[in-house]
Amino acid sequence: MSFLTIEDIRYGYGTGRFVLDHLSFKMEKGKFHSLLGKSGCGKTTLLKLACGLIQPEQGSIRLNGKEVTKPLSESGFVFQSPTLLEWKTVIDNVLLPVSLKRKITNEDREYAEMLLSLMGIESYMSSFPGELSGGQQSRVAVARGLIQKPALLFMDEPFAALDAITREDLQEDLLRLCEMQQTTVLFITHDIAEAVFLSDFISVMDEGEIILEQRIDLAKPRNAETRYGHPLNEISLKIRRAISGGLR
């Protein structure tokens, strides 16, 4: 049974051209889904549609059979750009989603600090976003996306601004967290190996269409071994070919 179903949707930004057309997509509960594809192919658009931020012109988006018409606020989000509030400290930025729901408890604060130290930026807790490096800002955004222990998590290139090492650490942390909390994830990335390492399902897009759906059956828990193992490489190559094959 699929959790989130996108059926035959169409979307354009009012420019006459449809960015997505006749696109269908499914997400299974508790699974990790990745979207890959050339820059500008419509990944971000699809993610925004899936999370209810924008509405399709045609077709339907259903969560557990119920039409999605507005953002599912119990989900977690990490946008392509960090989008932090400059006038709040790092920890307050992380706690923002909670503070919009209810009073912040000590537990929330502790969890936020835990996430920040997972992200390796616990020492910047009281800094303002303007005082952070690009990668540090994007890690604050990731912590903010995770603060609510969401059942549904949308992430748009969350690790793009990070070095390989930090990135791998965070991938493993993310996988652990998601497994623990049975999170359903929609993840956009340009790093094919990252997608394969993390995902249960990978969809490759091209010019507004999904041109490949790939199930990843690598054993869990995944670790450094998985990462440099042959199976991962093979799948990576296949996906890579799909992406570049999409080159028309």
């Binding site: 953002p71 989008t83 400059e86 919009l100």
Partner: protein, 251 residues
Amino acid sequence: MRKIPIYSFLLFLILLLLWEWTARGMSELVLPAPSVIGETLYSGLISGYFNAHIVQTSVEVLIGLLLGSLLGILFGILMGEFESLRKLLFPYVIASQAVPKLALAPLFILWFGFGMTSKIIITTLICFFPLLENTVTAIQYTDHKKLELFRVLGASRWQTLLQLKLPAGLPGIMAGFRVASVLAVVGAVVGEFIGGSQGLGALIIASQGMMDTPLMFSVLILLTALGTFLYFIIELIEKRVLKPYVKEKKR
């Protein structure tokens, strides 16, 4: 850069001398010399002659500024949030601004009496507009990425307003506040022009009636001091409130 106070003082001195020199060749009734004004001002301050007037006007200015700013921000929020409300109300807002208060003064007196109320209302009306416009603009030009963030976090309209639009628009709103603070002084004085027996505006009228131009200029100087003081206070508040912005945006 450290020499600014000196230059500032020099400029002031030069202007003063120029004024003194111009005034020498003129009737005191038209343009009194700064020395004469200084004397009047000094003796008035020493003798306590100005005190009651200063207090009265300051109270009107402060209450009017407070009310006007609150209303201005409130209506700015409403009219910024609800396009329809904006269309509905803006003719009345413009009417309230384009109509000279001085012309309505007799009516204000009829409606609100001779006391402080009518002056405060005039001040309120005058302060209101710059804050309204700046708030509307601040609210309408919020960064759309941050708006998306708040939408996605399920923030209510109210939360988006309080935690995003207003803080993000604070610099613009504070600019409106600075304008309002100085206009408030004019508002109170204009209110006192008609039907006030106390206050710096009433003193201006009285001094004009007696053709005591040095007294009038003393009052004008007091008004400038009041305006500068308010402006200065608001700048101080601004510097504190806007610190995080400055961190990010100024260097």
